[in-house]
Symmetry: C2
Subunit: 491 residues, 2 copies
């Protein structure tokens, strides 16, 4: 399958259909959106075998992994639909006090859908962060029509997924413009989509260069629009000495599994392992090396990633002070990735900004510090990250508040004695972080709060009750939680 | 008083102090921020006479108006401080289910302060949207240090206000970097402030050209930052025939008062009055004209505004199809604004984009339509607005859903049978709208939800309870509302 790029006319047609669908879809009741998202989930479940087979062929990921990812995709659709129904995400608020002296206006506020959302799926999650993934699910839950550009690395998977969504839209009796799917491997298709006047927001998961390009195109529009670009992260892991002394074997196991999981192709892969040279550290490095050399090479998602991995690794190896700590010992075939760990002293790392760039694939970098002061210097030098991890005893964590404070400023999620891979889908998750990890740290891409990205407030002043949107009518016909004169009534 | 522009070194020093203060201030308990904001309010109250005198001299606004504006400023400081204490704005959320099979991580999320915020105050609200105005109050409530650039039109007022804030910071024992005040009439000072690496967000109230410049500077940074620019609005008012027939005299009175209030220098001034030509419409226009001609000229905020007002009015008068409907009949002195209403047919308005530009001052434009279809064409042609108003009977409102739907997409606040001036400070207010009214329609600048602009989420995974921020500890020591496993516990 080799789909042809959409033309500018086709993109214009898609956004025109989307903006027409918006005028209907944004008014739908939460129950309609729940039904749409549930129906998509059901159709995906019914197509499971076909979807997994297509994705396995296009992405080289294992069927086990893909089945798990499909479960996650279905769970996202169901929980975001349920969140739309629960109504917290509407943030309904009523201020009305007829007895106020002097008289005050009756003001009621709710969040409404932004408009058509363009979604660029990721290559490394062909289901959960692609065509019917988190961005699409949260935009549809918000009441926004979606135009997806299929990722060129898995066009067949994307087309199958898109069929589940378009079928669900039809089953629910909604306008076809609620969801549309276009192909485009070229630079131009992305630019037309982002710069189309009807596009109201953009969701993206991928590389820094790709995400930043979308951000720049959006900023150059006559009317700038928000872009939620999740662009990658180094996910530093700090190992404090007492904990390392107690658990170096277990930590080495956890970290090798984490940085090689999915052949190192996760945005939450631990890309830096930072600790202080001592006896336990040396044992830890030996264990890390032994485990890494025993990991077999595995096919990467596509040849572009394989050649970037090779090129980036070569470039890093040429940097001053870098040495190979371990490599997978088995020979690898073209298109495969074999694990690599390099080591560098903090001083060399601090003086070379190139070492802060993500190397997507089974690669990680050990940064060796002389003392706690160097640990802090490394933390201070970090750019924005999706996650930051500390392995420590509770006592050590308490004694290292300055380190925690630095990570709070630089990261979206802090993990204690665990690995950053594995992003739970729940309300409390934050998957997003300061630039350059994401383009807008004020929002996250995982969990029902992702819906908030595609909403904006509107207030109605002295509006006749019967003509207000249902969530704002005095009798609360949808029985949702609302703020009344500033106090939350949970229902 | 003729303050000297800050140098680049001084700006760097201010932002360095701010980022140092951030590491302390962002950790303060809500009670500390409430105390700071209340103390600022008290010191402002104590300096009332001096503040009003300075502002009257610098802005030419009346003492009555300035006293009311000071009340509003104090109310904002108090209510945003109280909102910080109530805790809704923290959006605390805990997902922990020790009995889950398979086991799930314990994840807890809260909103934290973004970092140092640069505030550019407005000329038309020397108190409420300037130095210690809404942006400063909401940033401080969020836990962000603030650097204010004094508006060059009221440096003395700004310096007096700044003293209230810096004194309050000292009284509360907080680092001086929590609030700083710099002068700068030049282009460069603004650019240095927005592009300084430690600046995390920007608040602005003013013209489109000024706001868009800040947005562009922020987007051109190596790490783009959010800019909340409230840039002006035309605030269309639609008059439906039956209502106009019933109440044309009252509506003419309301609209003339509204568009000349504060000498027309409000961002919510009704800039378009749109209706269908019929008998009541003709009576309404006669009343509008008579009332307008009786309004006396009054001094505008400063000479720059006075000359822009004159120039813009001239330019509009040269456009095809524009005619003067009424002017204030009393002669005006240099620096004063005398009211002007112009009239244009919908067809001429629709074909001339220049007629959608704001003319700041006592000016409004009547757009005469032939029928309801032209009314819709005008609505569809509107750019993003802070507000949209409909005068109608309830029956007419019900029959004009298409008009309402168009205004919902284009406006931040819809008003029924009222005027857009007068922006109530309450949780349900939305003061913000689609571009070009504001740079980010997902947030508002008035009411406690303005605090949300300066916050971002952070999640803690498997973190020791005692070392979590207080709002996330299991026992809920701050007794704030929190989501527990996705369900809100209001406390």
């Amino acid at each position: 399958m080799n789909p042809i790029d959409a033309s500018q006319t086709q993109i214009d047609h898609a956004l025109t259909s989307a903006v027409e669908a918006y005028s209907v879809y944004r008014h739908t009741a939460p129950s309609v959106r729940l039904k749409l998202l549930s129906t998509i989930a059901q159709l995906i479940e019914q197509s499971r075998a076909q979807l997994v087979a297509a994705a396995a062929s296009e992405s080289h990921l294992t069927e086990t992994r893909l089945n798990n990812e499909l479960n996650r995709t279905i769970f996202q659709l169901e929980t975001y639909g349920a969140a739309s129904q629960k109504g917290y995400c509407l943030e309904a608020s009523l201020d009305h006090d007829p007895s106020a002296q002097p008289a005050k206006p009756d003001i009621r506020k709710i969040l409404i859908a932004l408009g058509p959302v363009v979604v660029f799926g990721s290559s490394n999650f062909p289901f959960a962060y692609s065509t019917a993934g988190g961005d699409t699910a949260s935009a549809l839950a918000a009441g926004c029509p979606v135009v997806v550009k299929a990722h060129p690395a898995h066009p067949e998977t994307s087309a199958l997924m898109a069929k589940c969504v378009t079928d669900a839209v039809a089953i629910c009796g909604l306008p076809a413009g609620v969801f549309q799917h276009v192909f485009g491997a070229s630079f131009e298709v992305g630019k037309w989509l982002v710069q189309h006047p009807y596009t109201a927001a953009v969701g993206f998961t991928g590389s820094f260069s790709g995400g930043k390009q979308l951000v720049d195109w959006a900023a150059a529009r006559r009317n700038p629009i928000p872009v939620f670009a999740e662009m990658g992260s180094l996910n530093p892991v700090f190992l404090l000495p007492e904990k390392l002394n107690l658990s170096h074997t277990e930590i080495a196991n956890q970290l090798v599994n984490s940085f090689t999981l999915g052949v190192g192709q996760f945005c939450t892969k631990p890309g830096f392992i930072i600790g202080i040279k001592d006896l336990a550290w040396d044992s830890f490095l030996n264990e890390l090396s032994a485990l890494t050399s025993s990991i077999s090479p595995a096919p990467l998602l596509h040849n572009g990633i394989a050649s970037s991995f090779e090129k980036n690794t070569e470039l890093i190896l040429q940097q001053p002070g870098i040495r190979v700590l371990a490599r997978g010992s088995a020979p690898s075939k073209p298109g495969e990735g074999s694990p690599v760990i390099v080591q560098v002293n903090a001083a060399d790392w601090l003086s070379n900004s190139l070492l802060q760039e993500e190397n997507f694939g089974p690669f990680t970098m050990v940064i060796q510090c002389n003392d706690a002061i160097e640990i802090l210097a490394v933390a201070k030098h970090l750019e924005g990250q999706l996650t930051g991890t500390i392995f420590a005893t509770e006592q050590e964590l308490m004694e290292n508040r300055a380190l925690v404070s630095m990570l709070e400023i630089r990261c979206g999620r802090l993990i204690f004695n665990g690995v950053p891979t594995g992003v739970e889908v729940c309300k409390s998750m934050q998957h997003g972080g300061p630039f350059p990890a994401t383009s807008d740290a004020r929002f996250g891409a995982v969990g029902e709060d992702a819906i908030r990205r595609f909403l904006r407030p509107i207030a109605y002043q002295n509006w006749p009750d019967a003509l207000l949107p249902l969530p704002l009518q005095t009798k609360n016909p949808l029985a949702i939680p609302r703020f009344i004169n500033g106090v939350l009534q949970p229902q």
